[in-house]
């Protein structure tokens, strides 16, 4: 029974991934990404990591996909429909498969674990988050803050200091 569920989840995840990578249309790619992320959430459920699945769906499913769609709209340029792969794709395919095979081999050759998946009590997770992992937690918040400000500054439309930003003609 669990194996069946696993295969469904695997199909969803990998199918979504292949979709992202293979579609001609950017919007389809974004939607395929959503599909793949939900597949991953399913996998978390199989591993009894319900909170993670929820977080996954909430953040990835919601926020990240929306941002992607925004980006697609803002950078809508004429050649979207004709997106093709760059001329290096055969080499990329080979390298990616070799990489995957190497990773798989590593896992394959690692000593097998016979244990069953167990779910930790949710309370332990909460406690650990604020005791053992308190410092990384604070740093994570800092990362988010920096990313926030950075994104704003970089993507700001040139209203106030238009001259300063564009590179002066001389410097070329």
């Amino acid at each position: 029974m669990a194996l069946a569920l696993f295969t469904i989840v695997a199909i969803f995840t990998l199918g979504g991934a292949v979709g992202v990578v293979a579609t001609r249309n950017v919007v389809h790619a974004a939607l395929f990404l959503l599909l793949s992320l939900l597949g991953a959430a399913g996998a978390y459920l199989l591993l009894f990591a319900e909170f993670l699945a929820l977080v996954q769906v909430l953040i990835y499913g919601g926020a990240v996909t929306i941002v992607v769609l925004f980006a697609v709209m803002l950078t809508r340029s004429s050649e979207y429909p004709r997106i093709t792969d760059n001329k290096q794709w055969p080499l990329g395919l080979i390298t990616a498969t070799v990489l995957a095979v190497v990773l798989g081999a590593a896992f394959w050759l690692a000593p097998d674990v016979a244990a069953e998946p167990q779910a930790p009590a949710f309370t332990e997770l909460g406690a650990a988050l604020f005791t053992k992992w308190a410092l990384p937690f604070e740093i994570a918040s800092l990362v988010l803050l920096v990313a926030l400000i950075g994104a704003i500054i970089i993507a700001r439309t040139q209203t106030v200091t238009a001259q300063a930003d564009t590179p002066a003609e001389g410097e070329g």
Binding site: N86, Q88, L91, G92, T95, A96, V98, L99, V102, A106
Partner: protein, 645 residues
């Protein structure tokens, strides 16, 4: 006696003084030079007196077993090189010192040099008057005389070599004295280079002797050579190498090309250097190092052959050349050949005697030529065809020149006859018959060209240039007449005069005193040849009754070859232009193109090209970098995996 080293020192001191204080010295320093050489002459006279008189008691003097002559030896240490505080052995160190040797040969030679140099310098006062570099002329004259005297006095080969080179330098400076025009410049360079080639042989010879004998001193070398300790191979090699040096300086056959060109220099220079003193350095070297030559018969034969070839060849060229100074130059070469021949024929006394006689006579002839030039006003060279019948315009010069010519021609009772006669005796006595025949021919030819020169210039028909000729001033004619007296009277010292003095043979000899004896057959024969030559020349050039046209036509080919000086000059020039310059140009190109561009710039270019090739991987596309990252990761993964397994 020990003060003999002062003779060269006076002139050595005079030279820098003149160079530095030219402007403030009277007559720009000329009297200083003359004073120095005069002092040298006085000291020479004193040395001779004390040498003849109280020499045997002097501790420094002893009768040398090899040369059989009384030799006095004085030396002071100069410097040591190699391991300090060690005796001078071939493997440890060399000890060099300044030493002088006084024996009959030196005394006689010093006399000749100081006397002729004094005469020439007095003569030059008049001849060089008004020359812009008057002071420099006397500076170089003083340096030359000093170097020549040191050469005559040197007791070790190294000091001899040093003086040898300095003499070469002075001849370079004096030949090229008027360096503005190209003629003297090229002649000076040619003289220095050709003698320098000879000096290579000399230096190698000296070093060869040092390697085998262990020291540079001549006495040790002679002892080793005479006692056979040196081994015949080394002795012959050393003798031939020394001969090579002598041939360079005394203008023997392959190296004679520079002497005729040396006439570009002022005439008093030619008189002093290229007649009386410098050119005899080679003969002096062979005479001084005679024990080495005597120890190897092959070397003696080579010396004789070289001497004969030079004498005969130069005599023929002298006969056909038209410029007065060139004739005298070739005659000098020819007479030097005779001296070498006599040395090769064990005629040591004869060679030294002829050296003296020729020195005085040739100096006289050159000064005569100078006075002709001075009188006619042709500063360059004097073409004898254009200058004829000068006896009326320049009576004293004519008389004096003729005496010189007659003496060298071998007319009896003059000094030339006696010394040439001695040589004939030596050659006839010790060398195969072919030598004596060719020597007789040379004697005849030398009489002929001397007569030709004399008659054409002074007694023949008037030439174009001889109209406004005028007699030279008293100073010049005075010096010439003194030399003329010597040219006449000098020969008589050969006889065994009553009293202790046993003729030249008794004083200057090699390992046994030779009493003078007159070989009547040879004497008569040489008189006939000489007088015949003069009569023939008189008929051809003065009376014009016998013409040499038919001979000139029949032997046209031979004549052209002789006129072109056997193409020796052209051969040298060709070898220089074709061989030496092309080789050096090729080498310079090789150096720049191969060693520099290929071997040195080559690696630099390879590095640069590699840099250009490696640069291409920066394509600017993000994905190529991602690919590179991926390959790196895969590589590392595999590498660690292999290490861990």
């Amino acid at each position: 006696m020990p003060l003999a080293f002062l003779i060269p020192v006076f002139s050595f001191a005079a030279c820098p003084l003149i160079i530095l204080f030219q402007r403030w010295l009277p007559l720009r320093g000329a009297p200083l030079a003359i004073l120095a050489i005069g002092g040298g002459f006085v000291v020479w006279a004193l040395t001779t007196v004390s040498f003849l008189g109280a020499a045997p008691e002097n501790p420094a003097c002893a009768v040398s077993g090899i040369t059989g002559a009384l030799t006095c030896h004085f030396s002071t240490s100069w410097f040591e090189a190699g391991l300090p505080g060690v005796a001078a052995t071939v493997d440890q160190a060399i000890h060099l010192d300044w030493g002088i040797i006084i024996d009959p040969l030196t005394v006689v030679l010093l006399g000749l040099i100081t006397f002729v140099a004094l005469g020439v310098q007095l003569y030059s006062l008049e001849y060089m008057k008004g020359d812009p570099r008057f002071g420099w002329y006397f500076a170089w004259q003083a340096l030359f005389v000093a170097a020549m005297l040191t050469l005559a006095l040197a007791d070790n080969f190294l000091l001899l070599y040093i003086a040898w080179e300095l003499v070469g330098l002075c001849s370079y400076l004096l030949i090229g004295f008027w360096f503005e025009n190209p003629g003297p410049r090229e002649a000076a360079k040619k003289a220095f280079v050709v003698t320098r080639i000879g000096d290579v042989g000399l230096l190698v010879g000296i070093l060869l002797l040092w390697v085998n004998v262990g020291s540079f001193s001549m006495t040790d070398a002679f002892a080793a050579a005479a006692s056979g300790e040196l081994g015949s191979g080394v002795t012959t090699a050393a003798a031939i190498l020394l001969l090579l040096g002598a041939m360079g300086k005394s203008a023997q056959f392959p190296f004679h090309v520079w002497l005729p060109d040396a006439m570009e220099g002022p005439t008093p220079v030619s008189a002093l250097i290229h007649a009386a003193t410098m050119v005899i350095a080679g003969v002096y070297l062979v005479a001084r190092a005679y024990p080495i030559f005597a120890a190897s018969p092959e070397a003696m034969m080579i010396v004789a052959i070289v001497g004969l070839i030079t004498a005969l060849g130069a005599a023929t060229i002298a006969l056909v050349s038209t410029d007065l100074k060139r004739i005298l130059a070739y005659s000098t070469v020819s007479h030097l050949g005779l001296m070498m021949l006599s040395l090769g024929a064990f005629g040591w006394t004869a060679a030294v005697f002829h050296l003296m006689a020729h020195g005085f006579a040739k100096a006289l002839l050159f000064l005569g030529a100078g006075s002709v030039m001075h009188g006619v006003g042709a500063h360059g060279d004097v073409d004898i065809r254009r200058v004829g019948g000068l006896r009326r315009a320049m009576p004293v010069t004519a008389v004096v020149f003729s005496i010189g010519a007659l003496s060298l021609g071998g007319i009896p009772i003059l000094s030339g006859f006696w010394s040439k006669d001695e040589i004939l005796i030596a050659v006839e006595h010790n060398l195969p018959v072919i030598f004596i025949v060719l020597t007789m021919l040379t004697a005849f030819l030398s009489a002929l060209y001397m007569a030709r020169a004399m008659f054409v210039v002074f007694f023949g028909a008037e030439g174009e240039d001889s109209h406004h000729a005028h007699e030279s001033p008293l100073l010049m004619t005075g010096v010439m007449s003194v030399l003329a007296v010597l040219a006449v009277g000098f020969g008589w010292i050969a006889f065994n005069w009553p009293g202790a003095f046993g003729g030249i043979g008794g004083f200057v000899f090699y390992d046994h005193a030779e009493k003078f004896h007159f070989n009547y057959v040879l004497g008569a024969l040489s008189i006939i040849l000489a007088v015949g030559a003069f009569v023939l020349a008189w008929l051809v050039y003065v009376r014009r009754s016998v013409s040499h046209e038919p001979w000139r036509v029949r032997f046209a080919g031979v004549l052209r070859v002789v006129e072109r000086r056997y193409y020796v000059d052209e051969a040298y020039q060709w070898s220089i232009d074709r061989v030496v310059l092309t080789v050096s140009a090729a080498l310079a190109f090789f150096d720049r193109a191969v060693v520099n561009d290929v071997a040195v710039n080559g690696p630099a270019d390879v590095v640069r090209k590699a840099g250009v090739a490696l640069r291409l991987h920066v394509t600017g596309h993000v994905y190529t970098y991602a690919l590179a990252v991926a390959l790196g990761v895969i590589g590392l993964a595999i590498f660690w995996w292999l290490r861990s397994v």
